[in-house]
Amino acid sequence: MTTDTAPVRYIERTRAYYRALGYAKDYVWASHADVPFAPLRKPVADCRIGLVTTASAGDPAVHGPGHVRQVWSGPVAPPPRELFTANLAWDKESTHTRDRESFLPIETVSALVSEGRVGGLAAHFHGVPTEYSQRKTLDDDAPQVLRRLRDDGADAAILCPL
């Protein structure tokens, strides 16, 4: 066990782990020299915020064989009690995901709306599958997320990958 406080180097660790599993080829993580930037056009206190997660819908029936991983949405009112996260890579030894607010902060944003810190919360949150294929994420999933955020009148989005 390491006792230092430096951020964990996940790229290195994942590479070592998959080599230990016997994979011959390392995963190539996305890397970009240029980063786009869209300035916020009005004060946060006037903005409607959309939430995006990597979790899946809570209904285990939709995760069975033949299930197509795709963008999905759910209402923020009432908020979902739990979401399905077992298929994602997170630290299942150190923590748990039974508190949905710890990764999809619907009630927290709602509280900030009540405090006047932010204009509003969009009517739906959106789930985006984590894909091996970066092309699928960019060509299929990201445009879906954008369309759904715009349909709800979101001015900006908070993205919370597990």
Binding site: R13, A38, P39, W90, T95, F103, V118, E131, A142, C160
Partner: protein
Amino acid sequence: MSLVARYLEENGLPTVVIGSALDVVEHCGVPRFVFTDFPLGNPCGPPDRRDIQHAVVSRALQLLGEATAPRTTVRLPFAWHDPAWRGRYGRVDPAAREALLKEGEQRRARFAAMKGPAKP
């Protein structure tokens, strides 16, 4: 998720990522990033810690408004209650090497059956 952030920004929608994998998110490059140094799974704060969750999301909203350039990362000072967490995720225990190789073989067989590649 970082790729989604980039796509949304390219299309004029401002974003902020709240995440705990500093190297992965910064390697990809995103416009605004709130880094929380927690085990993967609870980027917005430890379970049932509404005070920390409120502070994290509040800081993310603030960053939405104050960032003036891409690759703006804010590191939050909150620490996980158990310092031993850093060593756990994805560790390769030398004593478990054979078991890991076997698990890898099973995974490859499953994925081959599905005709899809494996996801790290």
